[in-house]
Symmetry: C2
Subunit: 339 residues, 2 copies
DNA sequence: TTCGCTAATGCAAGCGCTTACATCTTGCGA
DNA sequence: TCGCAAGATGTAAGCGCTTGCATTAGCGAA
């Protein structure tokens, strides 16, 4: 890779000092129009791009924020990021994306990597991580926004929703539809506060409505894992009449399992999801699920982050609302119980 | 944000010179074990992370490569990137991801942004972009790998597959199944060589097999756009007996349109996709589609990029094979024609 | 014509890091 | 005991950029 032209190259060719070139690039008003044009011509001619490292060194900030998401394999996080990125880009801030593969160790490594890159702020998913990680973040005093979770009493600024409550509402709806033998295919709860909160929410709601405790099976974030988990649940006796899923991807797996077993949804088995990704509307029947405001979350995170970066003051967390989208995968409970 | 500890802070506290600290970090073998431990203790204590800009300035490379994908909204690109990232990370290289939203202007901006960040290489999707962009890349002599396309005669190193041929094979299969009234819901072809190649491939194959030219409707990359396009095609007279889709997302939209119109797949209408994303197996019936080796593509891109970064020599393009996955959405053509 | 003020530009000091080279220790053989 | 090589560490010169301050040019007013 050829060594890039530098400010000095431009300056020499334009017959000005490096200071002037720098000013043309950053504060063009301070430069005479004629000089400015001459410099800009040389910049174009040389295809000059300022060296990021040099710049970062001099101005001591990078206009960059980093986000660490569990995975890119599914659109669920990526989508919020798109909104975040758009919003940030409008303010001249670049977004760096890294993935942790749901692994706390990898997440910590990525935090270090991004911080080493001098990001001016950080977006992290969820609240569950080690105390030492939080201590590290606190010591660096880097602006951090937690996404996808919102819990009263959390010390860090978060933009999200109450996973526990949303899951509880869905469970309540399932019970209200007449189901008592309810099972759950949950996401992996270890190191994932969102998945855990959803399980707790479902358990709490079922208990509160006098339904038996659900059988809960955890599954990795994939259709295949959901299918396997659902097969287990559906082939046991007595089989559940409704399966609440920790997310839509798992629900898709449940659909396949049901299809394989010749069970019709919602006649033989009801299914609910969580997240409301595109997939939900494609499933047949369309999936009844919890709608999560991805985009608004991303946008809000951008605002919060920018405010946090400007003034180190504490910024209030933002709680967004979820909403159940009833679509057809949740039917009435079995008649023997209902009648 | 508190100003970070620097090498000098560490050096002072450890009672050594900055050079020694630097050596502890980069070439620990050159430092006496005792000194090394002392320095490391201080590093930990201070939570020191080297300043990326300073480092980049001094060593004149960043161990970073950038990738620009059209969108993160869908997993199709993200997935290949995950493989790319994993592979790169194993070699100590960080991946920066940016999106262009299918817009050449934005892509060009992102290229500049990434280059300004000093990326040592670039991954771009597809081959279609302006000559000036290519000229710029050539002048900078930055290693570039084009993903998702592979065409004989392309001057740039690419890792991908032949979209034209893959689409043609699918069209041939559709005709062989007995269909003659074939339509296509294609991706937007403007500025997208992959979408265009797929359309051309279908057209060529139909012509070669003596089938009438297909009606082609373009649709943006979303389920909803696919649904709209399919509704148009299905409600005209005569309606097609098979719809070939430019990608699986559009195929999902076709499923919804068919469902809304009370058409059964594949009895009333056959549908095929392209890409083989998870979605394809969830659809009911599972989608017959072209399987694309996402992961191998990402991995291969990583290898090529690393080789290109080491030695500026020309590296051969890599052609990967696609494969049709027959699953059930493609049925026999209408009997009136067959018999 | 000269002075004073503003606008335009240059000078040079750093920003945090690496690394060639210089310097200082050690340990060992003679 | 001394000399010397190898090992350990320090010194200082950049890497490309920004920016406070100094300098110069240009202009109107006195």
């Amino acid at each position: 890779m050829k060594s890039q032209p530098t400010l000095e190259d431009v300056a020499r060719l334009a017959g000005v000092s490096t200071a002037t070139v720098s000013r043309v690039l950053n504060t063009p008003d301070l430069v005479r129009a004629e000089t400015r044009d001459r410099v800009r011509a040389v910049v174009d001619q040389l295809g000059y791009t300022p060296h990021f490292g040099g710049r970062a060194l001099a101005i001591r900030r990078t206009n960059t924020v980093g986000a660490i998401i569990p995975t890119m394999e599914n659109a669920i996080f990526a989508r919020g990021l798109q909104a975040l990125q758009t919003r940030l880009a409008a303010r001249g801030v670049t977004l760096l994306v890294a993935t942790s593969d749901f692994d706390p160790i990898q997440e910590e490594e990525q935090i270090h990597a991004l911080l080493a890159r001098g990001v001016d702020g950080l977006v992290l998913i969820g609240e569950a991580r080690g105390a030492d990680t939080y201590a590290f973040l606190a010591r660096r005093e880097v602006p951090v926004v937690l996404l996808w979770s919102h819990r009263e009493g959390c010390l860090w600024t978060s933009v999200g929703f109450d996973n526990h409550r949303a899951a509880a509402e869905m469970a309540a709806l399932v019970v209200a539809s007449g189901h008592r033998r309810v099972a759950m295919v949950a996401g992996v709860t270890a190191g994932n506060d969102r998945a855990a909160a959803r399980v707790d929410g479902v358990r709490a709601a079922l208990a509160a409505h006098g339904a038996p405790a659900p059988r809960v099976v955890e599954a990795a974030y994939s259709i295949e894992a959901g299918r396997t988990a659902a097969t287990t649940l559906l082939t046991q006796d007595p089989a559940p009449s409704a399966i609440i899923c920790g997310n839509d991807v798992l629900a898709a797996g449940v659909y396949i399992a049901a299809r394989d077993l010749g069970l019709r949804i919602p006649d033989d088995i009801s299914v609910t999801g969580f997240d409301d990704i595109d997939l939900a509307t494609v499933l047949d029947p369309p999936l009844t699920t919890v709608h999560v405001p991805h985009r608004r979350m991303g946008q809000a995170a951008a605002e919060v982050l920018l405010r946090l970066a400007d003034a180190p003051a504490h910024v209030e967390s933002i709680a967004l609302e979820t909403e159940i989208r009833e679509r057809g995968s949740l039917g009435p409970g079995p008649s023997e119980t209902a009648q």
